[in-house]
């Protein structure tokens, strides 16, 4: 696992503020994510999740506040952060007109993997994801479920300390969705930190801890079990609706 050897927390956020004009997209956020934790980052559309993720990934400057990701400072060490995180969006950032192997080679190359490492990763992924039948296929010819698993694998090709997953399971069938979560569990068990957003409330249950954002602020943060007790709710969906509807 790469990342700053000294760091004990995967993410530390203190008093993070992001303003667009007079609008507080992130209104004094403070939270920490442990190494190896599966952290669910929930909130209604427009609550400010994407803004916060962009900052954590080093793609956007905060207005104020302290942020450390994988032990690196968001103001001074953005390049180191980018080398030590993985990112997968709902749109799967794969090249449709390239083959599976070409996509792996491309991302491996960007992250500075050697030829030998890229070759090993290619063999490993094709084997692990059961892609043998699609070896020569272009990514656009892959069924959605395979594409999703490949996008995840490519996002962690450089063995980052943390991987950010932005609605990774939208639209896939229920079995594939669960197989995907098993991939996530496997990576977390091996020490990777998972930072994930989703609109499926049953998936909130798979997280070690969950934060719920409402209008730019974190209104709740705890394990799913504790949140349900705290809000007297049977499911995470009830917790979410109670919070988001105010």
């Amino acid at each position: 696992m790469v990342g700053n050897k000294e760091h004990t927390k995967a993410v530390i956020v203190k008093d993070l503020v992001k303003k667009f004009g007079d609008f507080f997209a992130n209104d004094h956020l403070s939270f920490e994510v442990d190494r190896g934790e599966i952290f669910g980052f929930l909130g209604a559309n427009g609550a400010g999740k994407t803004t916060a993720i962009k900052i954590l990934c080093g793609l956007s400057h905060p207005t104020s506040g302290e942020v450390t990701v994988a032990g690196y400072d968001i103001y001074k060490q953005r390049d180191l952060i980018k080398q030590n995180i993985g990112y997968m969006s709902q749109k799967f950032s794969l090249y449709d007109d390239l083959s599976i192997a070409e996509n792996i080679r491309f991302y491996g190359g960007i992250y500075g993997l050697s030829r030998k490492q890229i070759k090993e990763k290619t063999i490993e992924y094709i084997e692990k994801l059961g892609l043998q039948a699609f070896r020569k296929s272009l990514v656009k010819e892959l069924p959605l479920g395979f594409k999703q698993k490949l996008a995840f694998s490519v996002a962690i090709v450089h063995n980052p300390a943390i991987v950010f997953l932005d609605e990774p399971t939208g639209g896939v069938d229920p079995i594939t969705r669960r197989q995907f979560w098993e991939l996530i569990y496997k990576e977390a068990a091996e020490g990777k930190t998972i930072f994930v957003t989703t609109h499926y409330m049953d998936e909130a249950e798979y997280c070690d801890r969950v934060s719920i954002m409402v209008d730019g602020r974190i209104e709740a943060l705890d394990g799913p079990k504790q949140l349900k007790e705290q809000f007297g709710a049977k499911t995470m969906e009830e917790v979410f609706i109670k919070l988001a509807r105010g």
């Binding site: 209604a44 427009g46 896939v172 069938d173 229920p174 594939t176 979560w181 798979y206 509807r245």
Partner: protein, 306 residues
């Protein structure tokens, strides 16, 4: 209201629809439930006369989708999955534009769209492109309703929408249903099945089952248990290779363990504890629509008779 017979459609080597047959009654709230790539959008495009099928026929409100397409288009409302309004026009301009196309006015049908439109009316001067996701969805629905259609087709109206807005959207559909509009909706969210009168489960261009949601669930034939333990990933791996396992999947806070046979909860609990799992909790469960869907999906993949 709608008779669909043996619809087929292929794109190059991909068979998007492999013989879809279903009848939908007047006033029904009917859901096509299935993942991306199941064929939902292709089906909706054929039913709204925007695409021709390779084979088969479809009648909507006594009108043939091919021969009577001109008349058909005046009586149906269609909300595509992708936001398709004019981003550079304001909320009000979009509504007036669509009303104009159908030779009507916003004023004439105001009562019909009022329950939905009044929520975005304060923003009527705002450009559609500058609206939030939830408001765009309400505007798109208002535009699809502006000509008082008899049948409303909604293609994945709740995809990418948060749990609160989804709930509100379904409340709006219930009120439209009360006005007598036949509503055909598609969704990848299994939990929305319970909100429909009848559903068709669709996967890879085929219907897995058509019925009232509770009837589909009642046909689930395995013994289902919810199992919880301290290490969920270890638990699901263990249960999947259990001799009695039909399937084992993560399911919110439980693993849903479908057993081939009735089993003693205490015996399974002991067994799991011996396998080094702690805080084990087991309950007998009734299947939900997602359990049914996954079961039917697996059977279809194995090529079994449904």
């Amino acid at each position: 209201m709608i008779q669909i017979k043996n619809l087929h459609k292929s794109f190059a080597s991909i068979q998007a629809l492999k013989g879809i047959t279903v009848d939908i009654a007047e006033g029904e709230l009917f859901g096509f439930i299935g993942p991306d790539g199941a064929g939902k959008t292709t089906l909706f495009r054929i039913l709204t006369s925007l695409m021709l099928a390779d084979q088969g026929s479809a009648i909507v409100a006594n009108l043939d989708v091919v021969n009577d397409y001109k008349e058909l288009r005046t009586i149906l409302g269609y909300m595509p999955g992708k936001f398709s309004l004019y981003q550079d026009l304001s909320v009000e301009e979009n509504l007036n534009f669509f009303a104009g196309i159908f030779n009507t006015t916003l004023k004439e049908n105001y009562e019909l769209i009022k329950p939905i439109y009044h929520q975005i009316e304060p923003f009527k001067k705002r450009r559609a492109g500058a609206l939030s996701g939830g408001m765009k969805q309400k505007l798109a629905l208002s535009c699809a309703l502006i000509h008082k259609p008899k049948v409303l087709f909604l293609d994945e109206p709740t995809t990418g929408v948060d749990a609160v807005s989804r709930k509100e959207f379904w409340e709006m559909l219930q009120s439209l249903k009360k006005m007598g509009i036949t509503i055909i909706v598609s969704t990848p969210y299994m939990d929305e099945a319970a909100l429909c009168d009848r559903i068709a489960l669709i996967q890879k261009g085929e219907l897995l089952d058509i019925d009232k949601p509770e009837h589909i669930i009642s046909r689930y034939s395995h013994f289902l248990y919810g199992v919880k333990a301290d290490k969920m990933y270890e638990l699901v791996k263990y249960l999947r290779v259990h001799p009695l396992a039909e399937s084992a999947y993560l399911f919110g806070e439980y693993v849903h363990f479908a057993s081939k046979d009735d089993l003693e909860i205490e015996v399974l609990k002991e067994e799991l504890e011996q396998a080094n799992l702690e805080d084990v909790e087991i309950v007998r469960l009734d299947a939900n629509i997602e359990d049914s869907f996954m079961d039917l999906m697996q059977k279809a993949e194995k090529g079994e008779q449904l």
